[in-house]
């Protein structure tokens, strides 16, 4: 076994490391869950129905938050009885295919609204868009949001913002776009015919080539259409044409990748807490791997072996790096699972990568600093005292300096940016914020190149100095030069 793997094993598989990590992961999951519930509560409606009205029958498919048919959703149809002039409700549950069906008594004038009962118990009332009195027509019922802004956001990996249309003989609900260029569309049709489809960017003068579909009868169809590569953020129209030359267009904007500001903030808040407190483990690791064995002479024996000091240092450094990597990965996996499973949203991979790198680099820069302190002090208790002091200073220095500046009557906002040059995480979390179009919590990066340079220095400098001290590099050079 390579020694650095062993150093990693004994660094990572420690009661202290595992305990703190488990606490963070649990806190992360709990926090993600709470945020998720908050985010969920902010989304008024996560289910849609696409359906048709034929005669006195309403048939529909309930579409869930990921754009899939959703079973077990309670659907309430409220209609007015023209004879007794009273509102009456009909209730059905969507079956395992998300399918739901109502038979409307002829004495009812028309259904006025549908009520979807979501899993969290919250009711959402959807006004019918379809002019029911037409007796034949499609219905497509989206969240209440569409009433106001005609948009609907699916919290799926490939979210589509869609303009709605209803009451036409043909209606399409565009659910998902996949990286292989497929578009999932639920099509409600009341006009039996041969269909063709095509897709074109909105505003494009060229009309796209049409691809034939099968003959579609009255009903609801889940179609996977091959539309090729779509540009994120661009508006498109999906065109259906029948053999009788009728055309139906549906507009949507591909929002891939999309993540809400709240979701990023929740992840970053959790990660910031991790970055603030998890370095305690690295303070301890530097103690266990360098300060303590040095103090008790355990390194002496290693020095007597056919091993260079540089090899010992690098092995222990890499052990810590792998611990940082594994801990950060676990935290991110927990955060990812929390957000995707509990909250039902997926963060874009690149955003996650930047956040991950930010946390990982922050941890290793702190580890490098602790290694430097461990090599500087011969007494392990002196190391502990100084490293705790340094940790407190670095963690709370911004607050402290701000407090002093404020006390002295300075405009602290003016200096805030400069104080952020102390951790590699700032730069990468800033990128993550920017990528999702969110505002970073503090005004960073007046000078990005300087910020990157300081981030690199924070990682490289303490580690390099620790290496030179541990290996007594200059002393050895001097001895060799003096021809000993």
């Amino acid at each position: 076994m390579r020694p650095f793997i062993y150093d990693f094993k004994r660094s990572f598989v420690r009661v202290s490391t595992i305990t703190l990590l488990v606490l963070f992961v649990l806190a992360g999951v709990g926090f993600g869950y709470l945020i998720g519930r908050g985010v969920k509560a902010d989304i008024p409606m996560k289910y849609s129905i696409v359906g048709v009205l034929v005669g006195n029958t309403v048939e529909g498919i309930v579409i869930g938050p990921h754009g899939n048919p959703s079973p077990g959703v309670k659907v309430e149809l409220i209609a007015i009885n023209s004879v007794i002039n009273q509102t009456v409700s009909l209730v059905e549950y969507s079956n395992s295919s998300g399918y739901v069906k109502f038979i409307i008594n002829e004495s009812f004038l028309s259904p006025e609204e549908l009520v979807l009962h979501e899993e969290n118990g919250k009711n959402a009332t959807i006004s019918l868009v379809s002019p029911f009195k037409r007796e034949v027509g499609t219905i497509i019922l989206l969240s209440p949001a569409i009433i106001f802004n005609y948009s609907f956001i699916y919290a799926s990996p490939y979210t589509l913002l869609q303009q709605q249309g209803a009451g036409f003989p043909v209606c399409a609900l565009i659910a998902n776009y996949y990286p292989n260029g497929s578009l999932r569309v639920y099509l409600a049709n009341t006009m039996p015919d041969y269909f063709y489809y095509g897709i074109e960017p909105l505003g494009s003068s060229q009309s796209s080539a049409l691809t034939p579909l099968d003959h579609l009868g009255v009903g609801i169809y889940s179609l996977i259409l091959n539309v090729g590569k779509l540009t994120p953020g661009r508006a498109y129209q999906l065109v259906f044409k029948t053999s009788s030359n009728q055309t139906f267009s549906f507009y949507f904007t591909s929002l891939t990748p999309y993540i809400s500001e709240e979701e990023v903030s929740s992840v970053i808040f959790n990660i910031s807490t991790f970055v603030t407190y998890f370095p305690i483990i690295f303070l301890y690791l530097a103690y266990v791997l360098i300060a303590k064995p040095k103090n008790y002479g355990a390194l002496d024996f290693l020095f007597s072996m056919p091993i260079t000091r540089g090899e010992i240092f690098i092995s222990r450094y890499l052990g810590g790096i792998l611990t940082a990597l594994a801990s950060t990965a676990l935290l991110f996996i927990a955060s990812y699972l929390t957000l995707s499973v509990i909250v039902g949203v997926t963060i874009n991979g690149l955003v996650f990568l930047y956040l991950f790198l930010g946390v990982f680099l922050s941890l290793i820069s702190f580890y490098g600093l602790m290694l430097l302190l461990a090599t500087l002090f011969n007494s392990s208790s002196a190391y502990m005292a100084i490293s705790i002091l340094v940790y407190i200073l670095f963690t709370f220095i911004e607050t402290l300096v701000f407090a002093i500046l404020e006390f002295m009557g300075y405009d602290i906002a003016k200096y805030e940016a400069y104080l952020s040059y102390n951790a590699p995480m700032n730069f990468l979390s800033y990128i993550a914020y920017k990528m999702v179009g969110a505002s970073p919590p503090s005004p960073l990066y007046l000078n990005p190149p300087l910020e990157i340079a300081t981030a690199i220095l924070w990682i490289a400098l303490p580690t390099a100095l620790a290496y030179l001290k541990f290996t007594e590099y200059f002393k050895v050079r001097k001895l060799i030069r003096s021809g000993s």
């Binding site: 355990a298 072996m305 000993s484």
Partner: protein, 299 residues
């Protein structure tokens, strides 16, 4: 062979060793003797590559412990008086860890560990944590670890301290075996008698400087005999007679003639007519006395 060349080392203002130079030859056990704090451990630590000297160098089979650290360290074993490892680890794990540095895969390292730990009498203790090892076990473990690279040179620093008789016998016999195999052994002690039946040569160190290097037979020759005499009726003329044979010390009716240069029979004959002899015998100074006599010259 270990060649220690003009090494000096200070800790702050305190000079631990000053221009220390001597050789440890193959097929020999070299005793390294000095009082506590004389500089033995510092010399050995420099020789083992544990600390760097301020000046000088140590050549292990011709390789510098500073410039060619890895090659030199492959040929030298260091067993300290109080070995310290990362004590939370199990012996087998620590062995595998160290062997990993030397390029051994885990399975081979395990096999080697069993072999070497068994050779030093630690079979069955492989899974124990190092903190549960006794001092003797730790020294044996250090020995086993160091033998991974099949070294030719051995540095034993006060290894007999704190050992039970079995442990002492083990290290003495082990050193003798190494000597037979033609290996170079440096055996440090602050008690000369501890190494007198073991060593071929003795290097005396005092206050950080080498004061003398002697072959063991020279050391023994250095030991001058004395005559012990007890009579019932001593008087002043007896002192006069005895002073012809050496330096006389009297304590009651007992006399010690130092640097005795006569013959016990002759003394006995010359005084037996006038004095009633209770006890007469030859004695030899202890090696400790020799040691103090040597360092006394340097005080």
């Amino acid at each position: 062979m270990i060649r220690i060349e003009h090494i000096s080392k200070s800790y702050g203002n305190i000079k631990a060793i000053d221009d220390v130079t001597f050789d440890v030859h193959n097929g020999e056990i070299t005793a390294f003797v000095g009082l506590n704090g004389a500089g033995k451990t510092t010399t050995i630590k420099v020789s083992a590559g544990v600390i760097y000297p301020d000046r000088g160098d140590v050549l292990i089979d011709g390789y510098s412990i500073i410039k060619d650290k890895k090659i030199a360290s492959k040929s030298v074993v260091w067993v300290p008086e109080l070995p310290s490892f990362e004590m939370d680890m199990r012996a087998m794990d620590y062995f595998i860890y160290i062997a990993g540095y030397l390029g051994y895969p885990t399975s081979e390292a395990k096999e080697l560990a069993r072999e070497l730990l068994s050779r030093v009498g630690l079979e069955g203790a492989e899974r124990k944590r190092l903190k549960d090892y006794s001092q003797g076990m730790k020294k044996r473990f250090a020995l086993a670890l160091s033998m991974i690279s099949d070294p030719q040179n051995f540095l034993f620093d006060e290894v007999l301290n704190g050992l039970d008789p079995e442990g002492i016998a083990f290290f003495r016999n082990f050193a003798l075996e190494l000597k037979k195999e033609g290996k170079a052994v440096l055996f440090s002690s602050h008690i000369l008698s501890e190494v007198e039946n073991l060593a071929d040569r003795v290097v005396f160190i005092h206050k950080g400087r080498i004061v003398r290097v002697m072959r063991m037979d020279e050391v023994r020759n250095f030991v001058k005999p004395y005559l012990f005499l007890r009579v019932e009726n001593p008087d002043s003329s007896l002192l006069e007679i005895l002073s012809k044979y050496g330096r006389v010390e009297q304590s009651g009716n007992a006399f010690i003639i130092r640097d005795f240069n006569g013959d016990i029979g002759e003394v006995s004959y010359s005084i037996s007519t006038r004095y009633k002899i209770v006890e007469i015998r030859m004695g030899y100074s202890s090696l400790e006395e020799v040691f103090f006599s040597i360092i006394g010259d340097r005080k």
